[in-house]
């Protein structure tokens, strides 16, 4: 190794932005983090 350092730190490659995990898995057209209203139930 050209530098006398300990273990190699992890590469920055494939480091997804924070919040990217929230976007994946949602139904198209549905905003993430917004729960669908339940019919017949009023919220006050």
């Amino acid at each position: 190794d050209r530098r006398s350092r300990g273990s190699k730190r992890t590469s920055g490659f494939d480091m997804a932005p924070p919040g990217a995990a929230v976007v994946t898995g949602t139904t198209p057209g549905q905003l993430p983090g917004i729960t669908q209203p339940v019919p017949g139930v009023f919220s006050m």
Partner: protein
């Protein structure tokens, strides 16, 4: 600058736009929390980045040259230029890197017309 900045359809050189972000990009010599940064730390940060680049890019072919702009001006800030020996290697790297992330930011990759970096400077 009077150069034509066209994007070739194939080239041994790739341009990765705005890849490198200096840790002291807001204020030279200071980190984002306003703490004074050691020149050695900044250099080390740069070398880590360079190492990441070299390691990843050498998976796709033989690297002829690897240039990282660590300037602080707006013009081509953080641009990474990588020249492979063969056009096909650059094409493979372009395909492999498109749509991926580096340090939480998307990788913007394109072919670059530059093949001789000594001649490439815009004046």
């Amino acid at each position: 600058c009077s150069r034509l900045h066209n994007k070739p359809t194939i080239s041994p050189t790739l341009l990765l736009s705005n890849m490198y972000q200096r840790p002291d990009m807001a204020t030279p010599g200071m980190d984002l929390n306003g703490q004074t940064m050691d020149q050695k730390k900044i250099q080390e940060h740069f070398e880590d980045f360079y190492e990441d680049m070299f390691e990843e890019l050498s998976k796709y072919g033989e690297i002829e040259s690897l240039n990282v702009c660590d300037n602080l001006a707006d013009h081509m800030v953080g641009n990474v230029y990588v020249q492979f020996r063969e056009e096909e290697e650059a094409a493979a790297a372009l395909k492999a890197l498109s749509g991926r992330f580096y340090a939480g930011r998307p990788i913007i990759v394109d072919f670059s017309p530059v093949t001789d970096f000594r001649e490439a400077t815009c004046r």
